[in-house]
């Protein structure tokens, strides 16, 4: 087991205390709601109480008469400006404020701008909306029934179908299944869940009527993408828009999209001529901002009788809510779901995915999403366990037998992915050893004999992160590249400007460490600037574990450009040819004469001085870089979860959790482990506690933290971590990204452990005490619907 406490500052990679801690520890962080602009007004949103209803009338006169109200904006106001609808990230449209119908409970209907936040809320109660309720589509499995109410009549649709999409070779997969000795199948729901960052979403829009410049402070993981979307939606010239992401209180995908409140704040500022702040409350966050998952999967796995896995076949029904707003590459409506062949050497695999509209909040990719890889890993890791149970095989041995072998890398999967590197058997072996797997099985047998319910769950995952290669991947037509600019000042101190945006991952520290590693200077001498589109280069931002794989690569490469510029200057300083210089620990030394050398600080000063430089050399050391990833990176991991289940109540206690991750080269091991810890807690939450269910009328049953339960310190064990390190061969520093690995890998380990304990083939998450108890009675619940 490894643990890393912060050490002294390394000249590059290694554990070090985070630079951002200084302000957070003192309460001196600057989050969105901490910002007060001169003359700022406050806004609140009136939301629909119905999941599906026609709007008959909206009367705002009483609200407008409130002495502290400055403006009331409705769908009609926006329609007059051509802003009632906005594009989603999946080439659909979404209502900013409803004009014709409301299509989910919590949908935005009116926007009030007032002198203070309490007055804005008061005025919501003065707006009279008359609704004509309509039947709601709640159960996705009935969304395509011939008599299902049509949700998107605005698009002149006649049903609730969004898309059909498939991947893999159907004929080859059917052939493998027809010849297989054994087949196991299972229906699996990955229920709708929510990222629920501790800071909710919000925005402050400020339109300067004189310069025509719009400044938007907002909770965004992708400030540049937001700027472009504002330009496209509102018709404001892009150079007149500045998006600023302040400190972000957690994102997890929740802060990728543009929400109606953001657009309304812009309109509110234009209408009032003053800055307008809108911050959602927790219920609004849980009811109306991007959810995650909601995949109904029917999976089949084929194998020989000696336990060689052959193929996987899967059909998915994807509940996308009322507007198709998932953040996916244009060509991939199910994201990267077709990575579901997982970590195994399979001959064939095929999936078909059907997306449907329902009367629920739009979104679909959030919560450490990895573009549907979370669903894919859950599918394959449950199927392997179901097969093992059916055949009486040990689930760890079955995995070990079928893992892709180290010598097979780079490995092309049956679904077309090229995994870059890994040593899967070593990673699984490390986890099993750390857990003491054989001893755990002995203990389990003893306890079973006494009637005690102990379970051991194993999962192995392959992540696919760092989206992505531009020929395959884009968001709204924008290629998924990221930029970096590195300025080195005359005294040798540096400023790194990035297009990605931290939400707690520690970029201010780790990206400074990448520069430090490349230039041999202290991370303390590198300032990292993010989040302000006027100050940073263009790029698509931070989600899908892409910061280190994409922006991290851009950072390493821009630092190498600076180093080569420094080589030219040093050659002029030392009067030798550039090729005679060797870069050693932050200095250029003359080969064979190390006493003749120049440090980066000396070179930086010389680069800005009167030193005569070779013809054509510009001077200074600054450089820029755009990184287009040639491939995704593929982190992996092996997890072992040990649970005890109370047979009387169904209460699950996670006693141990062993996680061995291989994310390639670790820039700051302390930060990497922190990322893993957080993801493991997410997994406990999803597996045991969290689900957004709906009643038959479409009422949201998880609209506060009293109903949507998050794991606390009492539900989480003391994590036991290990590591293997297989560098990515195509990444400049061999790093692979880690932000979502544990969120992806841990839910199946927990579920496998609980079902192992209670001896049940399958029951859907969350495995609450009620669900576990029902599963033990042979009557597991549909966890996306209300319990009646």
């Amino acid at each position: 087991m490894t643990t890393h406490a912060a050490a002294s500052t390394p000249l590059g990679f290694g554990s070090m205390r985070r630079k951002e801690d200084a302000r957070f520890l003192r309460g001196a962080g600057r989050y969105l709601d901490d910002i007060v602009l001169p003359g700022m007004l406050h806004a609140a949103i009136l939301r629909s109480p119905y999941a599906h209803a026609r709007i008959v009338s909206v009367d705002t006169s009483a609200a407008e008469a409130h002495p502290k109200v400055e403006a009331v904006i409705t769908g009609e106001t926006l329609a007059g400006l051509g802003l009632a609808w906005m594009p989603t990230l999946s080439h659909d449209v979404q209502a900013v404020l409803a004009t014709d119908k409301v299509r989910f409970q919590g949908q935005e209907v009116a926007f009030v701008v007032a002198e203070d936040r309490y007055a804005a809320r008061d005025a919501l109660g003065l707006i009279e909306v008359e609704y004509e309720p309509l039947p709601a589509v709640v159960d996705a499995t009935h969304a395509l029934d011939p008599d299902a109410p049509v949700i998107r009549d605005d698009l002149h649709r006649t049903d609730n179908h969004i898309f059909d999409w498939e991947a893999g070779d159907a004929a080859a997969t059917d052939e493998v299944f027809s010849r297989a000795d054994v087949v196991a199948e299972c229906d699996l729901l990955y229920p709708r869940s929510h990222p629920a960052p501790m800071e909710t979403c919000g925005s402050i829009a400020s339109m300067d009527p004189v310069s025509g410049k719009l400044t938007v402070h907002t909770t965004t993981q992708a400030p540049h993408a937001h700027r472009t979307v504002y330009a496209l939606v509102a018709g404001i010239p892009e150079h007149k828009i500045q998006v600023i992401a302040p400190d972000i209180g957690g994102g997890f995908g929740n802060k990728v999209g543009i929400y109606p409140g953001y657009v309304c704040a812009v309109v509110g500022s234009i209408v009032t001529g003053r800055p307008v702040k809108w911050v959602e409350d927790r219920s609004e966050n849980l009811m109306s901002t991007s959810f995650a998952r909601d995949y109904h999967m029917h999976g089949e796995i084929a194998a020989t009788k000696d336990g060689t896995l052959l193929g996987v076949r899967v059909k998915v029904l994807a509940d996308h809510g009322a507007f198709n707003g998932t953040a996916q590459p244009s060509k991939l409506p199910a994201g990267l779901f077709h990575v579901f062949s997982g970590s195994y050497d399979l001959r064939a695999a095929h999936c078909s995915v059907t997306g449907v509209y329902t009367n629920k909040c739009p979104g679909g990719v959030a919560y450490a999403c990895s573009f549907r890889i979370t669903e894919a890993v859950y599918l394959i890791e449950r199927l392997v366990d179901v097969l093992a149970r059916d055949q009486g095989w040990d689930p760890a041995e079955l995995r070990m037998k079928n893992l892709i072998r180290p010598e097979q890398f780079p490995y092309r999967t049956a679904l077309g992915w090229e995994y870059d590197s890994g040593n899967y058997p070593k990673t699984l072996r490390t986890a099993l050893d750390l857990a003491g797997y054989a001893e755990l099985r002995r203990e389990q047998a003893e306890k079973r004999a006494r009637g005690e319910l102990m379970g051991i769950g194993v999962s192995f995952f392959t992540e696919a992160v760092g989206a992505g290669p531009r020929k395959h991947m884009d968001i709204l037509g924008l290629g998924m590249a990221d930029g970096a600019e590195l300025r080195v000042h005359p005294t040798g101190k540096a400023v790194l400007r990035l297009s990605c945006m931290t939400q707690g991952q520690g970029h201010q520290t780790t990206f400074a460490q990448i520069v430090a590693e490349e230039l041999g200077i202290s991370p303390d001498d590198v300032e990292v600037v993010q989040g302000d589109t006027d100050q940073t280069p263009f790029g698509l931002g931070t989600y899908g574990s892409r910061s280190t794989p994409v922006s991290g690569a851009a950072t390493a490469l821009v630092a190498r450009k600076v180093r080569e510029r420094a080589r030219i200057v040093a050659s002029a300083m030392l009067e030798v040819a550039p090729s005679d210089l060797e870069f050693v620990k932050g200095r250029f030394e003359v080969r064979g004469d190390p006493a003749a050398s120049a440090s980066m600080a000396e070179i930086a000063m010389a680069a800005h001085s009167a030193l005569e430089l070779p013809e054509g050399v510009e001077g200074h050391l600054d450089a820029t870089c755009v990184y287009n990833p040639p491939n995704l990176t593929y982190p992996c991991g092996a997890y072992v979860c040990v649970v005890d289940v109370d047979p009387g109540t169904g209460q699950v206690t996670v006693r141990r959790f062993v996680a061995v991750d291989d994310c390639g080269v670790r820039i700051n091991p302390m930060v990497v482990e922190g990322q893993i810890h957080g993801g493991l807690a997410d997994g406990i939450g999803m597996a045991l506690m969290e689900a957004l269910a709906f009643d038959p009328d479409g009422n949201h049953l998880g609209a506060s933290f009293m109903d949507y339960l998050l794991p606390t310190a009492l539900e989480c064990p003391s994590w036991e971590l290990g590591e293997t390190v297989t560098p990515s061969p195509h990444h400049p520093i061999g790093a692979k990204g880690v932000g979502e690995s544990a969120t992806v890998g841990s839910p199946p380990a927990v579920v496998n452990a609980v079902l192992d304990a209670i001896g049940v083939r399958h029951a859907d998450m969350p495995l609450t005490p009620a669900q576990v108890w029902r599963a033990m009675q042979g009557r597991p619940l549909r966890t996306d619907l209300s319990v009646t």
């Binding site: 643990t3 406490a5 912060a6 205390r17 985070r18 951002e20 801690d21 200084a22 302000r23 957070f24 520890l25 003192r26 309460g27 001196a28 962080g29 600057r30 989050y31 709601d33 901490d34 936040r117 309490y118 990222p195 629920a196 960052p197 501790m198 800071e199 909710t200 400190d247 972000i248 209180g249 957690g250 997890f252 409350d281 927790r282 219920s283 939400q503 707690g504 991952q505 520690g506 930060v671 482990e673 922190g674 893993i676 810890h677 957080g678 993801g679 493991l680 807690a681 997410d682 506060s704 933290f705 009293m706 998050l710 794991p711 606390t712 310190a713 009492l714 989480c716 003391s718 994590w719």
Partner: protein, 164 residues
């Protein structure tokens, strides 16, 4: 209503609406934005302050209820001689990531160590169980509080309490 609240040792007198929440009083009236708001329902605990030395969720306390009482916020944790040992330990052990729950976690940890200078990991988990962190998975928070306790024991001070 006119109220007088002592915050971090400074007495503030303000005229407030009776319905004003303590969290908004601290943030909007006094500009002490280190105390955050997260859920409205007393579940998440990012708004925890010390009210007369005990952790309280300031989103569920009216400002008028704090009239005549003492409030300590994260801005009042560091002393003239530097960070509170708990603050330093959170950084050393990487007990924070996005920083949003951190002020509440720090204050609860401080209050715990003030009454129990040698808490077990289980006691630490119990103490912070009314607060949610989405980033750290709690382990490093537990380690940080233990580290602060250990350091205080080594230094021979009472639970690392700032003596100012």
């Amino acid at each position: 209503m006119q109220i007088t609240v002592t915050v971090n040792g400074v007495e503030y007198t303000r005229d407030v609406e009776p319905r004003l929440l303590l969290v908004h009083f601290l943030r909007d009236e006094l500009g002490l934005t280190g105390t955050h708001w997260g859920c409205d329902t007393s579940n998440c605990g990012v708004c925890v302050v010390l009210l007369d030395g005990l952790p309280a969720k300031s989103c569920t306390v009216l400002a008028v209820m704090a009239d005549g009482h003492e409030v300590r916020t994260v801005e009042g944790l560091a002393g003239a001689d530097g960070l509170d040992p708990v603050q330093q330990a959170f950084s050393d052990m990487h007990g924070l990531q996005c920083g949003f729950c951190t002020p509440g976690m720090l204050l609860t940890s401080r209050a715990l160590l003030d009454r129990n200078p040698d808490p077990s990991p289980a006691e630490i988990r119990e103490a912070i169980s009314g607060q949610v962190c989405r980033c750290t998975g709690y382990e490093n928070i537990v380690r940080a509080v233990r580290a602060a306790a250990d350091r205080a024991a080594e230094a021979g001070t009472a639970a690392g309490t700032v003596t100012s």
